[in-house]
């Protein structure tokens, strides 16, 4: 009985784990992109002010 529960749990981690990691990567990539966009905008403003 217990073996089945563990098999389902570990099977679920096998399926859900990579999906969570992919979500984590997407979030990190989005943050990096926003930082990049913000720094580019700040650079543009400085150039305009000059």
């Amino acid at each position: 009985m217990g073996w089945g529960v563990f098999t389902y749990v570990f099977g679920a981690i096998c399926i859900g784990g990579p999906l969570l990691v992919a979500f984590w990567y997407a979030k990190a990539a989005r943050r990096k992109f926003r930082e990049f966009a913000a720094s580019a905008a700040a650079r543009d403003r400085t150039t305009e002010e000059r």
Binding site: M1, W3, G4, F6, T7, Y8, F10, G11, A12, I13, C14, I15, G17, P18, L19, V21, A22, W24, Y25, A28, A29, K32
Partner: protein, 513 residues
Amino acid sequence: MDAEEIIVPLHWVDWLIVVIYIAGMLWLGFYFSRRKKGFDDYFMAGRNIPAPLLVGTLVSTFYGLDTLFGTSEVGYFEGVSAFFAYSLPYTVLYIVMAFLSPQFKKRWPENTTMQDIAFTKYGKTAGVTSSIAAFIYSTNTMEMMGIGFLVHLVTGWPFWVGVLIGAAVVLIYTYSGGLWAVVMTDFVQFCVMMITVGIGVILAWHAIGGFDNIVEGLRAFTGEEDVGYYFSPGAGYLTTWTLIAYSITALAVLAEPAFFQRIFASAGPKEIKKAFAAGVPMWLSFDWAVTFLGIIGAAAIGLAIIPEVEPNQALFAVLGEYLPTGLLGLAFVGVLASAMSTADSYFLVSGGVVGHDLQKVWRPQATDKQKERWTKNGILISAVISVGLAFVFEKIMGVWVFQATIIICTALIPVYFGTFSRKPPKKIAGTLATVVGLGLSVIWYILTVTIGYADEDIGTQIIMAGDTALWQEYGILMIVPIVFIVYVVANALGRKTMEDHQAQAAQRTEARP
């Protein structure tokens, strides 16, 4: 019953998935080949790999076909001991690496390879010796053989055709795209291999009818009424000593060249720590799923659901039986992915040994272009050797034990003492330790192959010394203490550290007219 040679036919939808997967891998290689700027970008991915990508590449690199087929084969014969006795020791060391890896990144922020530590702390001889060990360790004949075997399993094509196709695909994207291509393909491969194995074990457990039917199947498979040993962590026979012997190769986790490349290529100490920590439940779940696919395979044969197959084919036969069209193609891709993700990383590590480590000796002032060119040459050399050995040997018994022995005995002690000892170590200590470690590992392997015999039941080479059976794995237990003593004694008696040598060399240069 005699084992049958099976062909698992794929539907055209499955083949479409396989073709899309291979085309995707090649496209990633092509895409990153256009983005890279210089050696650091090619070999170290600009030292900017974030934690989630590191999880994918760490997990998929270390888990190749030896884990997939090896662990499922032990599960097939011995049940859950495959997980408890063989896989758990590795898990303990992954946790250890989660704590140690940020220390390495902090102490060696400029390093490229693990062998750099030996070069910096002990000089050329120790550096070259540990580089040779890393190159031998990174030769991935098993993965090449595994791809040949897999392609044969679904097409019936000769073994060599699969080996050549697999090697060509891996080689193209690794050679052209470098570490970014390897990391990104590893990430995709990590997702595919984990998810298909997860779906496979859940569907198979459900379809076969759960625990009671599995026990029924195992009774019919073994011909024994009591199959309790299938669900005993020690399989009813493993002693503490045999457990140590089986799990000693796990020490390779601590001196794994591909891990060190990722540590130094990570975006920071916190990133690599998070990656190892997040990888632990993935490794653990994968081991469990693969173990139970092996057990279910044996039970399914007992219940006459699948034909009697070779033990290492049971996993794929189970997936072939229970997965519907489309998912079976994905499962084939998943198994292929576990082989390719390991092969690409080790090709690249071998390339780095030639282009970065050894080139430092013959051309200390190498430019970025020269380093990249020779890393690519190294990748080609490693691929040729791996493919060549796959054709020479039909079955390489104990090749993993040999490779693990080489890297543990040569690199472990010098690298860890060189990094964590408070006083700077003496040059002679690392030099002698690496040479003695590599020399004894090779001699031990030659002895086990020449005067030893192959024990098919235990799955290892054995030398009889009187009444004592010395397994190939015992080499690590014997050589590591010798290397440790050599290192400690040489460090106590030695006079000069690398800093002393460098200061002396600088003085000599100044004194010249």
